[in-house]
Symmetry: C2
Subunit: 630 residues, 2 copies
Amino acid sequence: MCIEYLSHYKFHALNRLVERCDGNKGACIIIPLLAWLAINCVLVFIGSAIVTFAEPQAAGSGIPQIKCYLNGVKIPGLLTLRALVAKVVGVILSVSGGLSCGKEGPMIHSGAIVAAGISQGRSRVCNLDFKIFESLRSDTEKRDFVSGGAAAGVSAAFGAPVGGVLFSLEEGASFWNQSLTWRIVFASMVATFTVNVLLSALHGHPADLSNPGLISFGKFQNSSYQVIEIPIFLLMAVFGGMLGALFNQLNGKLTVFRKRYVTSNWAKVTEAVVVAATSAVIGFILIYTVDDCVPTPEEGDYEGHSQAGCADGEHNVMSSLFFKTPEQCLIAVLHSKPGSFTVLSLALFAFLYFILGCWTYGLSVSSGVFIPALLTGAAWGRLVGMAVMSLFPQMGYDYGAHSKLTQGNDIGKYALMGAASQLGGIVRMTISLTVILIECTGDITFGLPMVMVLITAKWVGDFFNTGLYDLHIQMMGIPLLPWEPPELSYDIQAKQVMNTPVLTLQLRETVQNVYNLLVNAPQLHSGFPVVAVADEPLKEGEYGRCKGLILRSQLCFLLNNKIFLDDSAQGSTPLKLKDFRDVYRPNISCLDVKLTEEERTMFIDLEPFMNPAPYTVPLVSSPLHSASGK
Amino acid sequence: MCIEYLSHYKFHALNRLVERCDGNKGACIIIPLLAWLAINCVLVFIGSAIVTFAEPQAAGSGIPQIKCYLNGVKIPGLLTLRALVAKVVGVILSVSGGLSCGKEGPMIHSGAIVAAGISQGRSRVCNLDFKIFESLRSDTEKRDFVSGGAAAGVSAAFGAPVGGVLFSLEEGASFWNQSLTWRIVFASMVATFTVNVLLSALHGHPADLSNPGLISFGKFQNSSYQVIEIPIFLLMAVFGGMLGALFNQLNGKLTVFRKRYVTSNWAKVTEAVVVAATSAVIGFILIYTVDDCVPTPEEGDYEGHSQAGCADGEHNVMSSLFFKTPEQCLIAVLHSKPGSFTVLSLALFAFLYFILGCWTYGLSVSSGVFIPALLTGAAWGRLVGMAVMSLFPQMGYDYGAHSKLTQGNDIGKYALMGAASQLGGIVRMTISLTVILIECTGDITFGLPMVMVLITAKWVGDFFNTGLYDLHIQMMGIPLLPWEPPELSYDIQAKQVMNTPVLTLQLRETVQNVYNLLVNAPQLHSGFPVVAVADEPLKEGEYGRCKGLILRSQLCFLLNNKIFLDDSAQGSTPLKLKDFRDVYRPNISCLDVKLTEEERTMFIDLEPFMNPAPYTVPLVSSPLHSASGK
């Protein structure tokens, strides 16, 4: 709603400035340009500054980071209240500031942060602890909550509850947990419902439930297709896959460049402002130099074309594309009647949105890639539709009762397939994206061609490089394990990649030994195997039988609280699970604990604290075994 | 198509017999009754006999068995060509024979069999080996194929490619395998497409693609709903959940009864014929005793009401319900205009279809439970709709542009929710069922209330008992591990449930020892740990270090082929993986192998053949650990 209102005021003010200049096309035209530039640059400057200085993890869409988190990689700062504020305020400003980006990716990250916060019932930044949901503070529960939050974010963004669930499962869960799935379904459902009620109420129809998500592809009045159209869709998918691969390649190079040269915070903010200024100038130049006033179709059409600089009864195509929020622009491209846009303007629009979208993703602003991808694809898809229309003008009229197609719907269909191809070629998400797009379309009929288009686009794209999110995960240097082991690594065994010598602890260990271990292996290992050593001497490379696993944080807790065995008090001290949960932090330190000489010679009994059934792998395990044993 | 044509001829012939009697309601009426009885009984007799005598695994819907297979439990006969023939022919005859069952469940089983057959490239029944796809004969590959086949079956049955994929994932996969998911998506897509093209061509519109699946809920002309209707839907879901639990409870008791008293094959066939006769007689009695001729709505209505026994311009409600294939009947209940059915006839229909459906499921015929559940639910859901209409006649007219509802659509909406509640209450499937029903409806708008209804129905049903499929899995005595460990078992450790003493083999074992092990543990264990024993004597309950796992079939292969170590030929004999694959059968025997005295003293080297990295669990593992470590 913020973006909608901000954009509305912005375009309203700009339109008035433009109208004042109507008639004299001279120097006067410079005023709206400067106003546009100024507004966009200020908005993006604030948005970028918030993200860059407050919480850099709020940059981008957040989807790669959430994917990493759900797969077990902790990223500091990702799920904090500060990141939430930076994300939400940042995305409002960057979308309103006219960058080629959407608000859908950030919604997913925001949903995940909210969910993580609820599960913890406290905030470290605010130093608040509500003392609620303490039983949900474990790592597992938090991760489950984040799955649900991400799913709810997708649901809210796209009005796609099933797609949201699939997103969380596809990106996050490697184990299909049925009860978790149910909870995620419920969360997604409530999210869609809430968005629907709130938006419907804000639009004045509280009981109407007509706004399932933030973005909608609008209603296709006639959504049938014919067998002969499928090859065309597939060719579009091939093209979209190649364009997507090109997008990722360019963005990858750009990211490398940024990592090397755009390193200081101010440089990042400056780059964002430069992109904002360029976007505004390009839009302005296109509107006023490309001569593309076309007659506005008379009735039943999408309303909202802009007259800027054109005669009455006509509208300026470029202005109709640029003087809008991206979501409105997408609906215009999908649903305007044939003849609303010229070939030149659509081609230029697609090309520039491709370039701008590629340049924008990876800026230090809160931004999503869905919308620019969909817009680019819809624009060139509509071009394909126009070409098909003019080559086969009779298509869609000859097939009896089911084919009362109007030309307009035909074109929208091609725009939709183009959008799907382009997005599929860039993000390479699979079944979840299919369902999300189907739910956005609100019509199951396009399901089949959509699946085919997405599969094809992914195959073509994967032939060249990886998906955009995986690319950025690699660039960020996050050690996320992919689905398949790398080629040529199938016969590498566990013993070849593991570090030696193994740092082990015995079931009863002296305080001194434990302390030395923690000091000598600082930050390297967060857990140590606990072994029972037999009586006979161990051979080289043998460490006794594995009895359990103890975490660094648990050892630190034992040291800090001096839970040692001495002669006076045999047996383990009663401890609550809660004590451990509170100390379960990755960065807990105990290297400055004061230990007396006497204490150093005492023993610690690790048996009551260790995990007695950790997951173990034989020395000779290799991807070959896990592949055949799946 | 077979069912459609058979039913068409059947009802056509019966209608002519009925028309001949028009006017004189006396003894003449007995002729069509007898004809109906005879036709149904003969069809069901043949269908039941095929299933009972040829392949009992083809009985029922096959969904419980497929679920078990996908979760790793082998069921002999389940995936054979004989089961496929019995299933397909059986379901055609039982549905055409007027039993209260559908063809959708059997489609899933059929899809799975086809897929399994393709992966094997041979048939044991026909003694054919096409020598193709030999690399796909491993157990893992076969299971992946069956996942895809089941998904394709769902897709073909319901025109629901996404729902099919989710079905396979939800029921089968405990591990989310991304590349497998893609393949399943592709298989489902092709299945839907093929059905669509074939059915469209058979109906005379080859390029039209208007028949995505075997069953469709038809098109809802106006599919919006209002917030105030959601509580009504939820109340219906509660009712549906309770009815579903009742259905399962009754069917469970019936299954116990059948297991005890209906044991001989002829008894099973007789029971099926009795049910067929009862169904026919009940239908006939209802048509001719319930006086429910109502005026046929004039235009735009569903066409296909039956006039039987009524004046011109009127139609017999009961006859409109019973003189149809179940799918046509479902569309009639969902889409007929208000006033097409009387309260009495709908109530009687719902009650009797509930009873007949419950009686039918578990008969020794090939039959699915989806259709009777949907029909029962649609009938009482329509009743609820009629009640709401008469209580709040203005509902749906006051909400502006989005609510141009006709009363007919309103009633259809309630029928749809009733059908969803009833089905959800019986089968308790979760996200896949939601997507399947949404795809059947062809409209995403009902997604949200559908999810809410299905969740509620599942919760209410689960309060009383388990889902129908899980119930039958328990009844069949199949050792399928549920998602959650049973209550009170959370602290049971692995060592408490495992058998002792453990039968182990050493890395090099004498032939005599191996033979003795296989003889003494016949059929009990299909795999044995291979251990390395240290030099010192082992204590009670210790077995040396686990080095790998060897399968009974591998040991048998070694014995049968006499791959022993002797002094003349040290080192392992070169063997191909294919040799092992061909002998990988659960029931391979080698207890009758002839061994000379000299051979018995030879050694077998197990190391090259064993799996060196089997999955192991520590002795103290318990559900508690796996729950916290998930």
